[in-house]
Symmetry: C2
Subunit: 148 residues, 2 copies
DNA sequence: TCCTTTTGTTAACTTCGGCTAACATTATAT
DNA sequence: ATATAATGTTAGCCGAAGTTAACAAAAGGA
C-alpha cells in the first residue's frame, strides 16, 4: 500500500495525461502546488512501486497497475463527491475539497456502501437496484439529480 | 490549528479523564498503542498550545480551550459514527474505525450538514426539524434508530 | 526506611514528505 | 550552431511523528 501523498501524485498524473497527453514534472508540480524536487521524489517512489515507468529525463507512463489504481482512486473520489454534493447538499467547490480528503481515508467497503446509498437516494429509493461500484454500472437505472 | 495527531491525543485524554478521573502517560500510551515517549512529546506539545496544563511528573489537566476542543472533536466523531452506522449501515466496528479517520478531515460545515442529514433520516424525514449541532440539540424530536 | 517496581523523561535515531540552492540536461530561438 | 531559457535532478536541510535504549523519579511493600 502506498501513502496518501503518493496516491495524490498518481491521481494527478493520470488526470493530466488524460487531459494533455504527455506531461512533465513541471506540470505535476504546478497542478499540485509543490516543488519539482518533491515531484521528482514522488515519481521515483511510484516507479519503485511499479505504478509508473520512468527513466531519468524521460517521459512518464502509467503501468497497468498504476492505471488501475489511479482509476480506483478517481472512482472513489467521484462517489464521495456525488454524495457530498447531491445527498448532503454541499456546494460544488466544498464537495470537491471534502471528497479529496475523505477519499483518502475510507475503506473499499465504505466506498461501496456509500455508492449504493447515494445511488438509491438519487434514484428515489429503488431498493431493488443492484448497482455495484466494483462491477459495471447498474443497467436498470440511471443516476438522476436529487428530487427534493 | 493543531495537527490531526495531536487532536487524537487530546481526545484520548478527554475520554480517559471522563472514565477514570486521574490519568497517566502510561494510560494514554496503552489506549493509543504508542510508546510513552510519543505521549510525552504530545503532551508537551499540547501544553505549548494551551490545551492542557502539565508539569514534569505532574498530573494532566485540560484547560478551558482544551476541554472545548476535545468536546468538539468528540461531537464530530459521534456525528460521523452515527451516519456510517445508522444511515450507511456499516457494522459498529467499521463505523467506529471510519468515523475516527473521517472526523479528522472534514470541515465544520460538512459536519453540520452531515449531522442535519443524519438527524432527518433517522427521524423519518422530519424536514422542519431545526437541529443544529453547534447549538443545543433539537427539542422537537429525538434521534431514533433507523426504521427500514 | 530502603529496595524494587512502576512510571516518566531524555537522547538519539528513523521515516515521510516537504523545501531551497545548486547543478545538469534538454529545448528553443536567433 | 550556439547561447539562453526551461526543465529535471541531486544534495542537504527541516519538521512532524513515531521508535528504542537508557536513565530519573515516584510509589509501594517488606
Amino acid at each position: 500500500m502506498i501513502s496518501k501523498a503518493l496516491e495524490e501524485y498518481l491521481k494527478t498524473i493520470y488526470v493530466l495525461k488524460k487531459q494533455n497527453g504527455n506531461i512533465r514534472v513541471t506540470d505535476i508540480a504546478n497542478k499540485m502546488n509543490c516543488s519539482k524536487p518533491s515531484v521528482n521524489k514522488a515519481i521515483n517512489n511510484l516507479k519503485e512501486n511499479n505504478l509508473i515507468n520512468y527513466e531519468t529525463y524521460g517521459t512518464i507512463e502509467l503501468t497497468e497497475n498504476g492505471e488501475q489504481l489511479a482509476k480506483k482512486i478517481l472512482e472513489t473520489y467521484d462517489i464521495v463527491y456525488l454524495f457530498f454534493k447531491d445527498v448532503i447538499g454541499l456546494k460544488e467547490e466544498s464537495a470537491k475539497q471534502e471528497a479529496e480528503k475523505v477519499k483518502l481515508v475510507i475503506t473499499d467497503e465504505t466506498t461501496n456502501k456509500l455508492a449504493k446509498y447515494t445511488h438509491k437516494v438519487l434514484d428515489l429509493y429503488d431498493l431493488d437496484c443492484n448497482y455495484d461500484v466494483n462491477q459495471e454500472r447498474c443497467r436498470n437505472c440511471k443516476r438522476r439529480t436529487l428530487k427534493k
